[in-house]
């Protein structure tokens, strides 16, 4: 509402009306330009995110279980978490080039630590009491993981996956805007370059929508896991 009001009263070229943005969005979708851009961007984001999850969840749980693993990996992950994303991207490109692998690597670098730390926090949520009880009743390492740890740590794991997904999308757009102009980043840069304000707004909205959708999806998993793990199943 505020947006529409501001656009109408200012009559500015740089602030498009909601209507113009919507039309531009339909137009972009119609030519297939949008879909292509989304696919190119998400290809990197998806691969990177899947990789970060596949490494991050087991690594975080292992760091929770074995102090030596925690001691070894923790400093690297802290650096990874603390590094400002745009500053690190040029370095990655120097090392890995401009192709898909470089973009995937950036996504992994920026999603991994979040996923690891939350999985580790999830493991700690299980509590030593349950681990001790399980070994007292003769649980093997495998049973311990399957029947206790994965159930108890699920809320932390899913929270990490959700935040990791948001960081993955953010990393994907950042690298496209900063250095490798492809996908959604390219769409945004093109719109900006040609003063296509409606196109710019439309592209940004698509990215925001995607990020929100992902976050929402994983939040569902997280809440379900959380309620189940705390013993709050509806009954």
């Amino acid at each position: 509402m505020a947006w529409e009001g501001a656009a109408l009263t200012s009559g500015s070229l740089l602030l498009p009306t909601v209507e113009a943005t919507a039309w531009r969005l339909i137009e972009l979708a119609g030519t297939g330009e949008l879909w292509h851009a989304l696919w190119v961007s998400n290809h990197a984001a998806l691969l990177g995110f899947a990789l970060a999850g596949a490494i991050g969840v087991p690594l975080g749980l292992a760091m929770g279980r074995w102090p030596s693993a925690d001691w070894f990996f923790d400093p690297y992950l802290n650096v990874m978490l603390a590094t400002p994303m745009p500053a690190a991207i040029p370095v990655v490109i120097m090392v890995a080039g401009l192709g898909l692998p470089a973009r995937v690597l950036v996504v992994v670098l920026f999603a991994l630590a979040t996923i690891v730390f939350h999985a580790r926090a999830g493991f700690r949520l299980v509590g030593w009491e349950l681990l001790e009880m399980s070994s007292a009743f003769g649980a093997s390492e495998w049973q311990l993981w399957r029947k206790v740890v994965l159930r108890g740590a699920a809320p932390g794991i899913w929270l990490g996956v959700r935040l990791g997904a948001i960081r993955a999308v953010s990393a994907m757009v950042t690298i496209e805007l900063l250095l490798v102009a492809v996908g959604m980043g390219r769409l945004i840069l093109d719109a900006q370059g040609s003063l296509d304000a409606a196109g710019l707004f439309a592209s940004v909205m698509v990215i925001v929508a995607e990020s929100v959708l992902l976050a929402h999806l994983f939040q569902r998993f997280e809440q379900d896991a959380s309620q189940a793990a705390m013993g709050m199943a509806a009954e």
Partner: protein, 258 residues
């Protein structure tokens, strides 16, 4: 029979100082079918001793034997009831009670049958599908007790099991435990910091003192069995309770002088 021979346990200190001696040279023999209470002030190593019997805490030296076998880890002949209940928060009463059986590879039917039996035995009928957080502390510990009994151990190790419940509930739990155990012939080792509880439940009371943890004295209770809570009116009960309190207070004074 449980034989504990010169058991020593040290814990690494967290600040890198000298290691803390949790158990210093503890020797103790517990007869088959005996109900032994371990009594002592906090920090005397009574829980450590119990966990060592369970095989959860390794000894630095000495030995614990069950019959002729040395304890090297948890085993099917022993089960433990925990101070903080340690129930799986996501599992209902039935699943929690069957947990030990499930780990041992019992079939689904066997688990359900055993759980149903023990739910009745500990007085949890009607709560089969409740989750731990929907139960009071006393009921949660009934689940903990049923879970331990369901694996049919020869030896039941109980770590201050009624320490966290209110006085009335504790009294009921004690009476029910007396009732259950007197018929079972199981060996029970019961850690407590309550003198009344030790005298009410035990055949003998092992008195431990802290820093370093050691067994000071083993006292024969000598009250008749089957016992009910009415033994609390017998002179022997009061006499023993007073004696234990004197001994505990003497330990405090020693510690204060040191």
């Amino acid at each position: 029979m449980i034989t504990i021979e010169s058991a020593r346990v040290r814990f690494a200190s967290t600040e890198g100082g000298a290691p803390m001696v949790a158990l210093a040279d503890v020797s103790l023999t517990i007869a088959r079918g005996e109900f032994l209470c371990i009594l002592g002030p906090s920090g005397c190593g009574k829980t450590t001793l119990l966990k060592a019997m369970m095989g959860l805490v390794p000894l630095d030296s000495g030995q614990i034997r069950i019959g002729s076998h040395a304890v090297t880890g948890p085993g099917a002949d022993r089960a433990m009831v925990f101070q903080n209940y340690a129930l799986l928060p996501w599992a209902d009463v039935t699943a929690n009670i069957a947990f030990g059986l499930e780990l041992r590879g019992a079939s689904r039917e066997e688990c359900a049958r055993q759980a149903a039996h023990w739910i009745k035995a500990v007085g949890l009928g009607g709560f089969e599908h409740h989750l731990p957080r929907q139960l009071s502390g006393g009921m949660q510990q009934r689940v903990g007790l049923a879970r331990a009994l369901a694996v049919e151990p020869e030896i039941l190790l109980m770590d201050e099991p009624f320490g966290a419940v209110d006085a009335q509930t504790r009294r009921l739990l004690q009476e029910d435990l007396l009732d259950l155990m007197q018929r079972s012939g199981k060996t029970v080792v019961f850690v407590t910091h309550s003198m009344e509880e030790a005298v009410l439940l035990g055949d003998r009371v092992a008195l431990m003192s802290p820093r370093p943890g050691r067994v000071r004295e083993v006292i024969e209770v000598g009250l008749t069995r089957p016992r009910t809570a009415s033994v609390e009116r017998e002179p022997r009960f009061t006499e023993l309770k007073e004696y234990l309190w004197e001994r505990l207070r003497a330990m405090r004074d020693e510690a204060a002088d040191a």
